[in-house]
Amino acid sequence: MTFRSTTARATSFKFTFWKLVFLFLMAAGLYATFVRFTQGLGASTHLSDQFPWGIWVSFDVLCGVMLAAGGFTLTAAVHILNIKRLHSIIRPTILTAFLGYILVSAALMFDLGKPYNIWHPLIMRNPHSVMFEVAYCVMLYTTVLALEFSPIVLERFNLQKPLKVVRAILIPLVICGVILSTLHQSSLGTLYLIVPEKLYPLWYTPLLPVFFFLSAIAVGLAMTIFESSLSSKHFGLQLELPVLQELGRVLVVVLGVYAILRFEDLANRGVLKLALQPGYEMYLFWLEISLCIILPLALLLQPRVRSSANGLYFAAVLVVLGFITNRMNVSITGFEGSTGVRYFPKWTELAVTGMIIAAGFALFGLAVKYLPIFPKEELMQEPAMENERALPDVSPVMEHAGD
C-alpha cells in the first residue's frame, strides 16, 4: 500500500500529454464560464432567435443523458433479468451513469437563461409539457442513481446500517430507475414531436421516442464495452472479455432492430428518396447511418470481431459516435433548413462542453482511485494515472461536438 502511494506521488508530478490537455480544457472552460455568467448567453454562444438551442442542449444534455444509459441497461440486466455474469462491471457502469447525470445537470446551469430557477418545475407543474416530464424524471433518476451508487461510498467508510437499508430497497430502486429511464430517454425524442414543420423529414418521425429509447439501450451497451475496455487498459485491470462478448451479442440484436425500424419508418413515410438527394442533410444522414448502423453491424456480425477485445472496442466507439451524430442531427442539422440559419458553436460553447467532458473523466479516475469501484484484487497497477485515461477520447468527442 505504502509502496503504491509513493510511486503514485512520484508519477503525479509528471506532466504527461493528457494531463496538459486536461489542464488546458479546464482553464479554457473556466474562462468560458466566466464569460457566460458575466456577459450572458448572447455573448457566450452563437444562439439566436432563429436557433435557440445549440450544443449545450444537443451534446451536453441529449448526448449526455444518452451516454449515461448504461446505468439502467446494466442494472436491469443484472438485478431484474438476474444475469450474474454481468455483475462484475455494474459498479463502473453505475458510476458512469451517476457522473453523467451530474454533468448533465451542471451543463443545464449554463444553458438555462435563469439557472437559479431550475427548481421551478418542482412546484410549478405543467403535466402537458414534455420538458416538465423530463425535468422530473431526470431529478428523480439522479436521486435513484445516487442511492444505487451509495453502497460504494458506504462500503468505503464501513457504514453498515445505511448499507443495510439501501440493500433492502435495491430491487424497487432498480425498477424505479428502469421506469424513469425508459420515460425520459424516450421523452428526449418526444420533445421534438411538436415541430413537424421545422424538423427535416429524415429525422422527424412519430417514432422519435422509440428511436431515442432503443438507441439509448444500444449506447448504454456500447458505453459499457467502451468504458470497461478503457479501464482495463488504463488501470491495468483484467479485461472481462466474456462479459463484453455477451454485451456485443446483445448490441447486434438492438442495432438490428433499430436499423430495421429506422428504414421501415423512412419508407413508410415516403421520405427514403430524401436520403438519396445530395445535399447537406443527406451527407450528415449517411454519416450517422454509417457510424451507428452499417459499420458496427458489419463488424459485429463477424464472429472473429465480436470475440476480440479490440474489435468490440472499435465497434462500441463507432456506435457511440454514430448516435452522438444522430442526436446532433435531430437537434441541429435537422433545423438548419427550416430556420435558414447555419449554426456552429462559439468557442465558449465548445470550451464549456470540453471542460464538462474532461471533468467527467477526471471524476471517474478519482472515484476509481478512492472508492471500491473495481474488485480489489484486480487493481494491479497503481491508479495514479487517472488523468491520462482521461482523455483518449476527448478529441474525437470534441470534434463531434461541433457537428
Binding site: 431550475i118 420538458m131 428502469v178
Partner: protein, 260 residues
C-alpha cells in the same frame, strides 16, 4: 366569447403606428432605426413587413391551443379565456423550449441580458380584460387591424372575401392553422411571401406530444408490474436451481440443507 384581431393587409397603408403603439404599451424603445427593422425581436413584438406595395403584420398569433403554453415546463405561458397568451417572466427558467416549439417562431429572447426574458406580443391582456381593444387596433388609422369577438371577425372576414374575391387570396390565415388562432389575417398575395408557413396542420400541435405523454400514467404501474414479475421469475428460477442442484452430486439429504 374569445377576443381576436383581424388584420386586413389590403387596407393597411404601412404607417407603422401599430408598431409604435405596441412599443409604448410594452414599455419598449421605439425610434426610426427600430421602425426600419423588419424582423420581430426581443424589443419589437410586432412588425409591419413591406414587399413592394404590399404590407403584412407579423405578431404573436395567440393560438387557441398554443404550443408554447403546452411545452412550458413551469406554465409561464398561459392561454387565457379571453384570447391572449400571456407570459410570466418570474416563473420562466429560460429553457427556450417555447421558441423551439412555436410553429410561427414568435417568442424571442433577450440574449444580451444577464436576467433574460422571453418577449412576445401577449395581445394586451390588461386592456382586453378591461374590455378595451389592443393598443395596435386602437391606434390603427384605417381599421386594417380590427379588434373584436373572434366569431364576429371570422364572419366579417368571410364577408370581405365574398364581396371582393379579386382583392384577396381566398384564405383566412389563422382560421384553421394549428387549430385556429386569435389573430386572423387577410392578404392580397400568398402568405408565404411574408414568411407565413403554408404547411401547418389543422390540428392543434400540443396533441402531438400529449398523445405520447398521456400514456405515462398507464405505463408506470404496468412497467413496474412487468419488471417486478420478471424479477420474481428469474430469482425464483435461481432458488429452484439452487435447491435442485446438489441432488445428483450428493444425496437427497443435502437438498433440505441448502434450502435453509
Amino acid at each position: 366569447m374569445s377576443k381576436a384581431l383581424l388584420y386586413d393587409s389590403t387596407v393597411c397603408i404601412g404607417c407603422k403606428q401599430c408598431e409604435q403603439a405596441c412599443a409604448g404599451q410594452n414599455k419598449l424603445p421605439y425610434d426610426d432605426a427600430i421602425a426600419a427593422e423588419e424582423i420581430q425581436s426581443a424589443h419589437k413584438m410586432t412588425v409591419v413587413l413591406t414587399r413592394g406595395e404590399k404590407f403584412m403584420r407579423r405578431l404573436c398569433m395567440n393560438c387557441n391551443d398554443p404550443s408554447c403554453a403546452s411545452v412550458c415546463p413551469v406554465g409561464a405561458l398561459q392561454k387565457t379565456a379571453l384570447g391572449p397568451v400571456t407570459y410570466d417572466a418570474s416563473k420562466c427558467m429560460g429553457c427556450r423550449y417555447c421558441m423551439v416549439a412555436c410553429p410561427f417562431s414568435v417568442p424571442k429572447y433577450e440574449w444580451g441580458k444577464l436576467v433574460p426574458k422571453v418577449q412576445k406580443c401577449t395581445m394586451c391582456p390588461d386592456r382586453v380584460a378591461q374590455g378595451k381593444p389592443t393598443a395596435c387596433a386602437e391606434i390603427c388609422p384605417t381599421g386594417a387591424t380590427k379588434f373584436g369577438e373572434r366569431d364576429e371577425l371570422i364572419a366579417e372576414a368571410r364577408k370581405r372575401l365574398r364581396d371582393n374575391p379579386s382583392n384577396y387570396v381566398d384564405h383566412i390565415y389563422g382560421l384553421e392553422e394549428v387549430g385556429g388562432t386569435s389573430v386572423l389575417l387577410l392578404s392580397a398575395v400568398p402568405f408565404e411571401t411574408f414568411g407565413y408557413r403554408s404547411n401547418l396542420s389543422k390540428d392543434p400541435m400540443p396533441m402531438l406530444t400529449y398523445r405520447v405523454l398521456s400514456h405515462i400514467p398507464d405505463f408506470v404501474p404496468l412497467g413496474g408490474m412487468v419488471l417486478g414479475g420478471i424479477w420474481w421469475i428469474t430469482h425464483r428460477r435461481e432458488e429452484v436451481a439452487l435447491a435442485e442442484a446438489p441432488k445428483p452430486a450428493v444425496d437427497n439429504k443435502n437438498k433440505n440443507g441448502r434450502k435453509a
